[in-house]
Amino acid sequence: MNLETTYLGLRLKNPLVPAASPLSSETDNVKKLEDAGASAVVMYSLFQEQINAEMEALDHFLNTPQDSYAEALSYFPEPQQYHNLHAEEYLEQIADLKNAVDIPIIASINGVSEGGWMDYSKKMEEAGADAIELNIYYIAGDPSLTSQEVEQMYINDVKAVKKAVSIPVSVKVGPYFSSFGNMAMRFEEAGADGLVLFNRFYQPDIDLENLEVNPSLELSSPFERRLPLRWIAMLRPHLKGSIAATTGIHTASDVLKMLLVGADVAMMASVLLYSGPGILKHIEKEMVQWMEEKEYSSVEEMKGAMSSASVADPSAFERANYIKILQGFRAEDFR
């Protein structure tokens, strides 16, 4: 069975790519992922805030208590240099991973506003990253910002990173745009080599006992894959670049569905965190079984077979689909 696929111009042995997650901070884990069949790995994200705020915090806590009290003019030894702040630690990890594994390494940078942090995409390239995933994570909480302004910010980010590097750049975003399809096209125009659909926002929860906001992490559930599934199906015919599906992909059937609607790769995180890297082997095995049953000979053959351009009733992915489901609702669905 030929499982090969192309993503961001990278020839991959299969479409199974671990998404950005803490797993990639340990080189051993990435080796395990490779052994289990991962065809590339997206590293955990380097956050804009980490690049900026950590330096400020360090400076603040080292300097503020200094020279205040005769017996203790400082409270810490001052290292000769901070050559390994989080950002540079990240760059070292890229290099480490490149040494340790043969699969492509996609670095991930997460930020919003333009600024010095973007320089790190260049450093990522220099450290050996095969591609960059630009993760734009922005909660438009400021009511004075218009949607146009927010959109322009996204576009500017993509342009800035594309300008900084010569390796492929994918853009990972959430679905919350008035016209996501149009945005997707604009990302491509701005230079994005691919889209990663979709980002999950960490939604805060409320701690009822202490009446506090509790930013805990909930891993994805399979239900959530419906959103990317629909959008990939609709966008595939319009986009020239790569598409990665992510969010809610837990099983071989999830992967297959994503490929069928047009994704080039399926990205997984929660299931790997739950079940460990070994789960990839099972997923791959089950994929192959299904493909053999259905007499597909390669992934390329499957890709987009059920996108909106290919299915008999494209409206199924659009509004009509919604109406159909509602009308088809029966009480026993709840059992």
Partner: protein, 1192 residues
């Protein structure tokens, strides 16, 4: 040779760095232990070795921290005996602890250098400041002693000492004045490696190694000898001592050829025909040098001998250094030896002159008169007027002998009175004074300015920094001098050309313009627009500006800092203003240099910080304004008195003067001759350091007491009182109905903040659990800006104080809430804002303060507990309260045990006497007293009443037993002995004693406030420091785990042991303290104490305590051996199994994060190991609980 001289780089550093630089270059093994003011020498060495800096032999010195100075000396001795070139650094008590080894090291003729930042030895009081009492105490050990008088000399003499010790085989103490020299920043010439190479002959090094202990060539050293041989064997060393002085002179001469700086054993300054000469050593010699030049320029003939090699004292060379014409000599000693024939240098000079009469090295025109005097104890100022006054005295027929100078001794009249007129600095010297707040970066900025001027001009530069003794809201005064000639002024600036006030609130408190010269520049950071500044400053300040014709500039530096992303750090802003108006450098050039310096300092910390600083520089100049000075002063604002008028007489006369900065003027008679001070004085020192204070919302408050419980400064208080008392309450006074059924009708509760004592730390707001149900962001306590609240809250606080304390016996003291109705007898200390130690102390004083005596180990708790001007332990309305003392760092457990033994003995004696007179007391009182149950608060209260009756009955009796009993009667009321200290004491230097006291069976209560570093001396590693944390002396992260003092104490078996963390469980903290106090034997409580040395915002201190417990890093437990008698499990684990990772706790703190930032591989590995140990330890604790389960 000439090339070498030219290649010498200039650096702007202090003497600690200068001495350490040489010591590190010339050592293989460096044994260290922190002590002020010598700690930075060890810190530099550790940092340099961590950074891979090599010595002149091309290898990185091995720097090792010990558990005490005694330990460092032992390791030094061992390293020397096995052939390493070794050094150590210390001061004061530390040097005293090294003394036994110094006898050995000298007795064995072993080359070594001990660099000492000379500091007062504690006598009637501890002092961290400089004098020669420590080094003078080492005279009999046989070490050679070489004195440095300045920063340059600290580097040069360090070199000479290291060379001379190797050649002579006599160990050297190289010393310079603590703080005055050790912390003075000067531009000096750095000795290049090439000079060091020339100065050290490797043959000496090889010879030293050849004498080493090695099994390859076994020998034995350190025998025990008998009367037959000891004496003559001891005399074998004479040859070496006889040659030592000339070896030192040769080293000095060689050094002069290499560097152009010539020193001699005794350097004479002055004309050949001087008739009056003073002799001294240390920084005072620089001041004398400067003064003599001026005096002689005025036509006088005065001379000075700088004694450099003090031991061995080369008498002939000393005599030869004196001018033949000398008629009168004063010898000045910076030490006091009570009961001696005179201080040490004086006696040496007398002896030298006497021997000259026998040996006839030189014949004087007439035998000179010699007097001796003491000066400069504990860094007391020593100034040109004093030097001049001493020379004047020498004109007298019978000059005063055994005098003091610099103080007013109105008791035994030893002092010479001094007039300060006519001693302004030369016109070409720039003198600037900068008043700042500890946290505002003033000192750092000034250090930076000195470097800028030092590095970029031909000017000589000097900086000296004065800090007050508070750890929160501390005032700093920077004294900066620049000039074309070498600066020898080893004293503070008295008349400045530039005065900067970086904190507006200082204006009505500190009379800083008193120190401004006429025509000087005055720079003020004022929170007003420039047209409003004049009207908002005190009248006295206006008057001084007008009278002295000052040029007055102002800037709203906080605004500029905030607007440029600098937060509250105004250092860059004020530094830019200084350069913009002081005209030391052309403005444009100065700004470029500031930016350059910023780049050096912050370049490695990220672009954003760099840009903020640059922007602040650019915007400072635009926001700086010269203020138009009117002809008259009309401000209604008065200067504030240092203490309120209602303060007691002693506070007014003594404490207030010290607070106002006039302590130098207090005469000898102002003080008790034995170091005794009254308690309860912080209440009079209103420091007003909070920007924001907590404000209560009575409708939300649930009266849980947690805010009071955690307040480090006892500034938030709770009282219950009868509603009728509210009649006199101010309008804005807040109160609530008392919650709970235990209160009588109409009981009200007030929670009140003392706004002038609050530090604004926010712990109370963070801990407050009560939230507005309709707006959960609003708690029962919220921080609010102090300005609009200050006046009303002062009034409310004053009213609150008039409310009576609730009857202690009616309060449920053993609950968190109940305990907070008890009056704290520890208040308003100078501890850091948000301190993690003081809440424990405060709680203990609430419970036991009226009958407790405290032995306090040296450290943070002895500084905020007992550093002048004001002290925090206080009294209740009956005048009862904690009695407190500090002995030393190392002996505190034993010191406290001594308290217990006395109290037990006196109680026993009182009971014996009372039993003996039972009949004569008639009414059965004796019996009642002897049989009283004092296990509860009411029981103790009743006993107090009985004892009061007893004392009344004994008052008029002449019977010897009655008199004796009267003197002991108070011991019939139970006393509580507490031993307080930090982890440096308990885990390291005092552990031997602690261990012994825990095994003593005696009823003492030990509180270990575990901050996991030596907090007071600046965060050095202790055995309590956890694995993976960065601390000084563990710059690469601590590699071994924290010593488990709790477990070790449990295994002793006989002591009550608890580990607590109030942020994790206040109830468990309460229980542990109460059980410990009740336990009839020794108790030890190990209390998690968050600390600024952990590197995060202290307002989250309690959250971190909770995370420490949740992660299993800090398991809470109590071990009560008395439970065994009741067949109960004595070991109780009070916290649950780890539920978060160690990282989730640790990486909120800079001490852990720093390693992840500087060496992520090591951090990862240590964190993994530390996590493993947390799990292993937890397993041990769980097993332990099972092991102690009583058998069925």
């Amino acid at each position: 040779m000439k090339d070498l001289k030219n290649s010498q780089a200039k650096v702007t550093i202090d003497a600690n760095e200068a001495a350490a630089y040489v010591a590190h270059k010339l050592s293989e093994v460096i044994a260290i232990y922190p002590i002020t003011p010598a700690s930075p020498m060890g810190e530099w060495s550790d940092e340099w070795s961590m950074g891979g800096k090599k010595n002149i032999w091309g290898t990185v010195p091995d720097v090792i921290e010990l558990q005490s100075e005694g330990g460092a000396a032992g390791t030094l001795h061992g390293a020397l005996q096995t052939g390493a070139i070794s050094t150590t650094f210390t001061a004061s008590q530390g040097l005293l602890l090294k003394m036994p080894n110094l006898y050995k090291i000298a007795g064995e003729l072993t080359p070594a250098v001990i660099h000492v930042a000379a500091r007062s030895v504690a006598t009637h009081a501890l002092s961290i400041f400089g004098d020669h009492s420590d080094v003078m105490a080492m005279r009999p050990t046989g070490v050679a002693m070489l004195s440095s008088n300045s920063v340059q000399e600290a580097m040069d003499m360090a070199m000479i000492a290291h060379a001379a010790t190797l050649e002579s085989r006599i160990p050297f103490i190289h010393f310079f004045d603590g703080f005055r020299t050790s912390h003075e920043v000067q531009k000096v010439v750095q000795i290049p490696d090439s000079v060091m190479r020339e100065m050290i002959d490797d043959e000496w090094v090889i010879a030293h190694r050849k004498r080493a202990l090695t099994p390859d060539k076994p020998i034995l050293r350190g025998t025990a000898q008998n009367p037959d041989v000891f004496f003559q064997a001891r005399e074998t060393a004479n040859t070496y001592y006889n040659e030592c002085a000339s070896i030192v002179q040769r080293a000095m001469d060689r050094f002069a050829k290499l560097t152009g700086r010539q020193y001699n054993l005794f350097d004479y300054v002055g004309p050949k025909d001087a008739e009056r000469v003073i002799v001294l050593m240390g920084s005072g010699a620089e001041t004398a040098h400067e003064t003599i030049e001026k005096l002689n320029a005025r036509g006088e003939k005065t001379g000075l001998i700088k004694c450099r090699l003090y031991r061995p004292f080369a008498m002939q060379q000393f005599i030869e250094a004196l001018p033949d014409t000398v008629k009168a000599i004063t010898v000045l000693d910076r030490t006091k030896e009570p009961g001696s024939t005179g201080e040490p240098l004086y006696n040496d000079v007398i002896a030298a002159l006497h021997e000259n009469r026998l040996e006839e090295w030189k014949s004087f025109a007439a035998e000179p008169k010699v007097t001796g005097g003491r000066y400069g104890l504990s860094s007391k100022e020593f100034t040109p007027p004093m030097v001049s006054r001493i020379f004047d005295e020498l004109k007298a027929d019978k000059p005063k002998n055994h005098f003091t100078i610099g103080i007013n001794d109105d008791v035994t009249h030893t002092s010479l009175d001094v007039s300060t007129n006519g001693w302004d600095a030369d016109e070409d010297v720039f003198e600037g004074l900068f008043y700042g707040l500890g946290a505002d970066g003033t000192v750092s900025a000034n250090k930076n300015s000195i470097k800028i001027i030092g590095d970029n001009t031909d000017y000589f530069a000097q900086g000296y920094f004065v800090y007050d003794s508070k750890k929160s809201g501390a005032t700093t005064v920077s004294h900066l001098r620049f000039g074309p000639k070498p600066i020898r002024s080893a004293y503070l600036i008295n008349k400045a050309k530039f005065v900067a006030c970086h904190q507006f609130q200082f204006l009505d408190r500190l009379d800083m313009l008193e120190k401004a010269r006429p025509g000087a520049i005055f720079l003020l950071n004022a929170p007003y627009s420039h047209d409003k500044v004049w009207d908002n400053i005190p009248r006295k300040v206006q008057e001084q500006i007008i009278e002295k014709n000052l040029k007055f500039y102002a800037i709203d530096a906080y605004k500029v800092a905030r607007e440029n992303g600098m937060g509250n750090r105004i250092n860059t802003v004020m530094q830019t203003c200084f350069f913009a108006i002081s005209e030391i450098l052309p403005k444009e050039k100065a700004i470029l240099l500031i930016k350059d310096a910023i780049k050096k300092a912050y370049g490695n910390k990220g672009e954003k910080i760099l840009q903020s600083n640059y922007a602040a520089v650019d915007n400072s100049v635009d926001n700086l304004h010269e203020i138009n000075v009117p002809k008259t002063a009309g401000s209604p604002i008065e200067m504030r008195p240092p203490v309120p008028e209602e303060a007691p007489e002693y506070v007014q006369k003594v404490i207030a003067e010290i607070i106002a900065g006039n302590g130098d003027h207090l005469p000898v008679s102002a003080f008790e001759p034995d170091g005794t001070f009254p308690t309860a004085t912080t209440q009079w020192e209103k420091r007003n350091i909070a920007q924001e204070i907590p404000v209560l919302e009575p409708d939300i408050c649930i009266q849980c007491g947690k805010c009071m419980f955690v307040c480090p400064h006892a500034v938030i208080r709770m009282k219950a009182f009868d509603g009728e008392l509210l009649e006199a309450a101010p309008e804005t006074f807040k109160y609530m109905d008392a919650r709970g059924r235990e209160w009588p009708d109409n009981t009200k509760v007030s929670i009140q903040v003392s706004p002038e004592d609050c530090t604004g730390c926010e712990l109370c707001v963070e801990v407050c659990p009560a939230k507005d149900r309709t707006n959960v962001g609003r708690k029962a306590l919220n921080m609010a800006p102090i300005d609009p609240l200050l006046d009303q809250e002062i009034e409310n606080w004053d009213f609150f104080l008039t409310l009576p304390e609730y009857d202690r016996s009616e309060i449920k003291q053993e609950t968190v809430k109940g305990s907070q109705f008890l009056q704290p007898l520890f208040e308003f200390s100078g501890a850091c804002a948000g301190c993690g130690e003081t809440p424990y102390i405060k709680l203990i004083t609430q419970l036991y303060g009226d009958r407790m005596v405290i032995a306090n180990a040296t450290g943070c708790s002895s500084i905020y507990g007992g550093n002048l001007p004001s002290t925090p332990y206080t009294t209740n309305s009956e005048g009862l309260g904690p009695a407190w003392s500090n002995s030393l760092f190392e002996d505190n457990a034993e010191f406290g045990l001594g308290f217990r033994v006395t109290i037990d003995k006196h109680t026993e004696q009182a009971r014996e006497l009372l039993s003996g007179m039972n009949g004569s007391l008639g009414n059965g009182l004796a019996d009642e007293i002897l049989k009283a149950d004092q296990s509860t608060e009411p029981g103790i209260y009743e006993q107090r009443l009985r004892v009061a009756r007893l004392k009344e009955m004994l008052q008029d009796s002449d019977a010897p037993n009655a008199k004796m009993l009267l003197s002991l009667a108070d011991y019939l009321v139970r006393k509580s002995v507490w031993i307080f200290g930090g982890d440096g004491w308990a885990y390291d230097i005092g552990y031997g004693g602690l261990d012994h006291v825990l095994a003593s069976g005696r009823d003492v209560n030990i509180l270990v406030m575990d901050t996991e570093v030596y907090s007071n001396t600046g965060g050095q590693c202790s055995k309590a420091t956890p694995m993976g944390a960065v601390a000084k002396f563990a710059a690469g992260g601590k590699k071994v785990g924290k010593k488990d003092l709790g477990l070790m104490s449990v295994q002793g078996g006989g002591a009550y042991v608890a580990r607590i963390a109030m942020g994790a469980s206040d109830m468990q903290t309460m229980k542990a303290i109460i059980e410990a106090e009740r336990y009839p034997g020794p108790s030890i409580i190990i209390a998690y104490s968050h600390c600024i040395a952990h590197g995060y915002n202290m307002k989250y201190g309690l959250n971190q305590q909770k995370l420490a417990v949740d992660s299993g890093y800090w398991p809470l437990f109590r071990f009560d051996p008395s439970k065994v008698d009741n067949n109960e499990n004595p070991f109780q684990l009070d916290s649950k199994a780890p539920k978060i990772g160690l990282k989730d706790y640790a990486y909120n703190e800079m001490r852990y994060l720093m390693l992840a930032k500087s060496n992520p591989k090591a951090a990862k590995q240590l964190m993994t190991q530390a996590q493993k140990e947390v799990h292993e330890n937890w397993r041990v604790y769980e097993q332990l609980e099972k092991v102690y389960e009583p058998e069925e």
